[in-house]
């Protein structure tokens, strides 16, 4: 049996177990997906993202710390993190305007969750990454350039 088939069986098993114990329903997953903001992910520049979020023009803040390497050995995997001292944070996001779609991912921060997240993103080329934070009803930005280099033997 190949990996795909076997893991499907396994996944079904996990799911039915989860549904049985009432911790998760497929409906919940689908309901969450229904919230996926297409306009937001279709945006091709920061302005488009701000518009889709109703974010106005976010101000730059040194309280927002965007952490990314100066140089990425491979644009397919760029580790990034975002953290802030601001209060009442409800949302954090990473924007890369030079990518085909500017919005990479939006992270909701419920009460009790720290405004401190990390992930890995793809970058089409050397460019700026923006970290966006919603605190209260205002939006704040941080910015950093990441150089994407060519690697390997060349062919």
């Amino acid at each position: 049996m190949d990996i795909r088939r076997r893991n499907f069986l396994q996944a079904s098993a996990v799911l039915s177990f989860a549904v049985m114990t009432g911790v998760l329903t497929l409906e919940e997953a689908h309901a969450a997906q229904a919230q996926w903001n297409k306009e937001l992910f279709d945006a091709t520049d920061n302005e488009g993202v701000f518009k889709a979020l109703g974010a106005g023009s976010p101000e730059k803040s040194d309280k927002v710390k965007l952490v990314a390497p100066d140089i990425a050995e491979n644009g397919a995997v760029v580790p990034i993190a975002l953290k802030t001292d601001l209060e009442n944070v409800t949302m954090m996001a990473f924007l890369i305007p030079e990518n085909p779609n500017t919005m990479t991912g939006m992270f909701n921060i419920p009460e009790g969750t720290e405004p401190d997240i990390a992930t890995r993103v793809k970058m089409a080329k050397t460019s700026d990454i923006f970290g966006l934070v919603k605190a209260g009803d205002k939006y704040y930005l941080a910015q950093k350039e990441v150089k994407v280099t060519l690697g390997g033997c060349g062919g």
Binding site: I3, R4, R5, N7, F8, Q10, A11, V14, L15, A18, V23, L24, L26, E28, A29, H30, A32, Q33, Q35, W36, N37, L40, F41, A76, V77, V78, P79, A81, I96, N99, P100, N101, M103, T104, G105, M106, F107, N108, I109, P110, G112, T113, E114, D116, I117, A118, T119, R120, V121, K122
Partner: protein, 104 residues
């Protein structure tokens, strides 16, 4: 149907639970062409949800620019060692997967 188990590490210290997750997913962008020059359709995780003690502690919406085999780290308060963190994802093909880890 290619779902493989996630790796979830959840550690509590001083009342804060640090969660690190690795998920197995191709996260196809919809921009790449295969060897015959045909565009490979987009196929990526759109939503991630995390629960602990029946409370949502984290959620995210993702586009195709999150890296293949995604990594995610976040932290939250209000749980103790031995509690369970559940992570669920759903992708553009409506495949979904849930895995659970005990807080250590």
């Amino acid at each position: 149907m290619a779902t493989r188990p996630m790796r979830i590490r959840a550690k509590e210290s001083d009342g804060v639970v640090d969660v690190k997750v690795l998920m197995a997913h191709v996260m196809e962008t919809g921009q790449r062409k295969d060897q015959d020059g045909k565009v490979v359709p987009a196929w990526h995780i759109t939503n991630v949800m995390a629960k602990c003690n029946d409370k949502e502690v984290f959620s995210a919406q993702w586009g195709p620019a999150i890296s293949r085999d995604p990594y995610l780290a976040f932290s939250f308060k209000g749980a103790k060692k031995g509690d369970k963190v559940e992570i669920t994802w759903i992708d553009t093909k409506k495949e979904t997967r849930t895995d659970t880890a005990e807080i250590k």
